[in-house]
C-alpha cells in the first residue's frame, strides 16, 4: 500500500487557552449588529425612562415635605432645642419633670451638639415614654439605659470629644448610660434641652392595598433643676432657642416641639427612583444574553463552537466572563449617564439632592452595573440549562419581575419576603436610603442574586460537559 508523508499544519504555536476563548467570544458578541443595537437601545431606554421618572417623582408640593433642609433625606434633625454655648469640658444636669406620652419614641432630654446646623454631630440623652432612657448620637448610635420614665434626672458630661450620659432617679446616685465619641467637636459646643416627637406612621390595609398614614405629633416636656457646670470658669451666654426668650439664669423650662432627631424611614429615595429605568435596560440585556446562547443552538453553530473548543465548560465560563464584563461596562455608562442627566430633574424638596460624592449613591450606580452584569450571566446560565429561548426568557423574567409586581399587591411583609429570597433581591443595590419597605440591605441583596447566578452557572457548566450538547 502506498503511504504518503502525513501533512503537518503550517500554523505555528496555536493556543486554545482561556484568553483565546474570551477573545473568540468577544468577537462573536460584537459581530452581530443586532445585538449591539439591542444593547444601545437598552442604554437609551434606561436613561430616558430614568429622566422621565425623575421628573415625575420626588416630593410633591413646594418643599414642606418634612425633611430637614440641607441633609440627607435619610435623617430628620428637627425639634425644640434650648441651648447655650459651653467652651471646653463641662457638664449639664437636669430633671425631666414630666413628658407627654403621645408616641413611644417621643423624646425629651439633654443634647450637646457641635453647632445648630442641621446634621452636625450631636449626642443626646433622652427619656422616651415607651423605650426608657437612651443615649443617641449622630442618628445611628443608640445606647439603651434604664427603662425609667419622667420624672428622672439626666446628666451629660463632655470631656474632649467624648460625651458621657448618666441618669439618676433622685439626683444623688448616678448610673452611667454610656459614652459616645463626637468627631469634629470644637472648643465651643451647644448644650441644652430638647423635645421632639416623630410623626406617627402606620401601614394600613384598606381597599385592597396598603396605605401609609402619617399623623403629626407635638412632643411636650418640662424640665427643672437645670445646672450647667463648666470645667473652666467662663461667662455663659444666655439661653437661646425655644418658644420664648429664657432668662440667663433660668433653671426650669417647658418645651414643645414636633419633628424628630433620628433616622427617617419614609423618605423618597431619589437615586433609586432615577435608576429604576435600568429595569428596561435589563429586559434588553436578558433577551440579548439568552439569544447569545440559544441562537447557537438554533443555527447549529454550537457544533462549530464545540469542535473548535471541545472543553465545553470552559466555553461557557468564557462566555459568562465576556458577557458579564461587557454588560458591566455598558451598565456603568448607562447608570452614570442616567444619574447625571436625571438628577437635575428631581424636584427639589428640603433635603439635600443626591450627589456623586455620597458613597451610597456611588454604590447604587456601580451596583446597578453589577446588577445588570449578574442578570446577564444568570440569563446566560438559565438559557444554557434550558436551551430554549422562550423558556429561558420566561423563567428569568418571572424570577426577576414577579416579586416586584406581586409586591404592589401583597401585604408588605409578604412582599419583603419575596424580595429577599428571589433573584429580585439584587435590585436592593440601587437603594441609597433605608426605608420601612426595604427588604434587604444593598450588598446582601446583590449577594443573593450573585448566589443564584453562581449556582445556575455552576450547574450549567457542570452539565455542559456531561450531556452530548
Amino acid at each position: 500500500m502506498v503511504t504518503t508523508t502525513p501533512y503537518r499544519s503550517s500554523v505555528r504555536d496555536p493556543r486554545d487557552g482561556f484568553a483565546q476563548l474570551m477573545l473568540s467570544e468577544w468577537t462573536k458578541l460584537r459581530s452581530v449588529p443586532r445585538w449591539g443595537l439591542t444593547m444601545l437601545a437598552g442604554v437609551a431606554v434606561t436613561i430616558l425612562s430614568g429622566m422621565l421618572v425623575a421628573g415625575g417623582a420626588g416630593s410633591s408640593g413646594s418643599g414642606s415635605d418634612g425633611s430637614t433642609k440641607g441633609i440627607s433625606p435619610q435623617y430628620r434633625d428637627a425639634g425644640d432645642y434650648v441651648h447655650r454655648v459651653l467652651l471646653g469640658d463641662g457638664s449639664i444636669t437636669v430633671r425631666v419633670a414630666s413628658q407627654k406620652n403621645n408616641d413611644p419614641w417621643a423624646k425629651g432630654g439633654l443634647m450637646l451638639r457641635a453647632s445648630t446646623e442641621p446634621g452636625s454631630p450631636y449626642a443626646a440623652l433622652m427619656i422616651t415614654p415607651g423605650n426608657g432612657v437612651r443615649l443617641q448620637a449622630n442618628f445611628t448610635t443608640d445606647i439603651p439605659g434604664s427603662s425609667g420614665r419622667a420624672p428622672r434626672w439626666l446628666k451629660l458630661t463632655r470631656q474632649g470629644t467624648s460625651v458621657t450620659g448618666s441618669e439618676s432617679a433622685d439626683g444623688v446616685t448616678w448610673n452611667k448610660v454610656g459614652t459616645v465619641e463626637l468627631e469634629g467637636l470644637r472648643q465651643g459646643a451647644e448644650i441644652g434641652m430638647f423635645v421632639a416627637s416623630p410623626d406617627a406612621l402606620n401601614l394600613r390595609r384598606q381597599f385592597g392595598g396598603e396605605d401609609l398614614v402619617e399623623t403629626s405629633n407635638l412632643g411636650e416636656a418640662t424640665f427643672d433643676n437645670v445646672k450647667v457646670e463648666p470645667a473652666r470658669p467662663q461667662q455663659l451666654p444666655p439661653w437661646r432657642g425655644g418658644g420664648e426668650r429664657a432668662a440667663p439664669d433660668a433653671t426650669s423650662f417647658s418645651l414643645a416641639g414636633a419633628g424628630d432627631i433620628a433616622m427617617y424611614h419614609y423618605a423618597t429615595d431619589a437615586t433609586e427612583t432615577m435608576l429604576t429605568g435600568a429595569m428596561f435596560g435589563m429586559m434588553a440585556i436578558v433577551a440579548l444574553a439568552v439569544l447569545y446562547l440559544t441562537s447557537e443552538y438554533q443555527h447549529g453553530l454550537i457544533w462549530t463552537t464545540f469542535t473548535a473548543s471541545p472543553r465545553r465548560g470552559r466555553v461557557l465560563a468564557a462566555r459568562a466572563v465576556v458577557l458579564g464584563g461587557v454588560t458591566f461596562v455598558v451598565g456603568l455608562v448607562a447608570a452614570f449617564a442616567t444619574f447625571l442627566l436625571a438628577s437635575p430633574m428631581v424636584r427639589k424638596g428640603n433635603a439635600a439632592p443626591p450627589a456623586l460624592s455620597d458613597p451610597q449613591v456611588l454604590r447604587a450606580i456601580v451596583g446597578t452595573a453589577a446588577l445588570l452584569a449578574l442578570v446577564a450571566v444568570f440569563s446566560l446560565a438559565v438559557a444554557s440549562i434550558l436551551r430554549r429561548g422562550a423558556a429561558a426568557i420566561a423563567v428569568v423574567l418571572l424570577l426577576l419581575l414577579a416579586p416586584l409586581v406581586a409586591g404592589s399587591a401583597l401585604p408588605l411583609a409578604a412582599a419583603k419576603w419575596l424580595e429577599r429570597v428571589t433573584p429580585a433581591a439584587g435590585f436592593a443595590v440601587q437603594q441609597t436610603l433605608e426605608r420601612y419597605d426595604t427588604a434587604i440591605a444593598p450588598l446582601p441583596g446583590l449577594a443573593v442574586l450573585g448566589v443564584y447566578t453562581a449556582l445556575a452557572l455552576g450547574y450549567a457548566i457542570w452539565r455542559s460537559g456531561r450531556r452530548h450538547a
Binding site: T3, T5, R8, V11, P14, G300, W303, R311
Partner: protein
Amino acid sequence: MIRTPLEGHAARPSPGAGARKTVPRRDDLGPLPFVASRGMEATIEVRELRKSYGSTVAIDGLSFTVRPGQVTGFVGPNGAGKSTTMRMLLGLDTPDGGVALVGGRRYRELRAPLCQVGALLDAGAFHPGRRARDHLLWIARSNGLPAKRVDEVLELVGLTTAAGRRAGAFSLGMHQRLGIAGALLGDPPMLIFDEPVNGLDPEGIVWIRDLLRRLAGEGRAVLVSSHLMSELEGSADHLVVIGRGRLIADTSVRELLDRASDGRVAVRTAQCLEALTVLAVDGATVAAGGPDSVTVAGLPVERIVTLLSDGGVSFSGVSEHRPSLEEAYMELTRNAVEFHATAGQVRAW
C-alpha cells in the same frame, strides 16, 4: 516510491512539533486496542464503535481507518450512521463502546484542535447576521490562530470579495464554501466533511472535487461522507461503505471497480446474432446487451477483434465495459453478504 510514515518523519525533522506530540498513555484513554505510533499522527481511526439512542442502534461495531494522502469516501444511505460516526470522531457525541480517534487521540483531548482536525458538519451553521469574515474570525481566535489565516482561507475558497457580507445573504453554495473555509482555518492534517457536495451546482462540484484531491495530495487524511456514490466519482481513492451502522465494505476504489468490471467487453454491432455465434468459444460468456450490442466476458479485447474479423462480422466498436462507481456500489450493496464473505469482514445484516 513507497515510504512509510516513519521514514517520512526522518526526512522532515521538526523538533518542536515532534516533542509536543506525545503518544497517549494507556491509562489516559482506557484500554486502547492498539498502541499508537507516530504514524498515527494524521490518521483517523474508528474501532469497534457502538452507539445507541434509546432502543435504536445507530452504530454497531464499526471499524475503519482513514489514511493520510487519500480521500476516503464514507458512503451509505441516509440514516446509515455516517453523521453519528463523524460526530463521535469530533467529540460531539460519546460512544457507548469502542473508540473514535483522530491522530491517535480522542478529539476532546486535543489542544488547539483546529490545527489537527478540520470539520464541516452543517453548512448552515452560522449566524445570519454575522459577516463571513467575522464568522471565521471568532473560530480562528478560539484556537489562537492569526487573523491572516482568515484572509488566506477566504481566498482559498474564493470568498474574498464576499468577506464583508452577512452570511445570511449567502447562497447555498457560498454556505458550503464558508463551512469549508472554517474547516481549513487551522491548516489541519485531517479533514472531515459531512456531505460537502450537498446543494452545490455542477461548477461547485468540480471545484470541491479538485479541492479534495489537492488536500489529499498534500498528505492530509480526508474523510468525505455522501449518500450518493456518484458524488465521489473522480475524487475518492478509498471507500468505506456502511449500512444500518455496520461496515459493508472497506476497499480502495480501484479494487471495487476492478471487481465490478470483471473484464467484460462490450461489442457494438448490427449483426448481433452472428457475433454471438462467433464469440461463443471456450471460456467465454456471451450475452446480448441490447438491440445492437453484445457483452463478452472472459476474453481479452484482441482475441475478440480477431474472432469477429475472422468470422466476417462487421462491428462499429469494441470497448472494455467500465462500470461507474454508482454501478459498482449498487452491485456491492446488492451482494453485501457475499462480498463480506470474501473480504473477511462479514457482519450479517
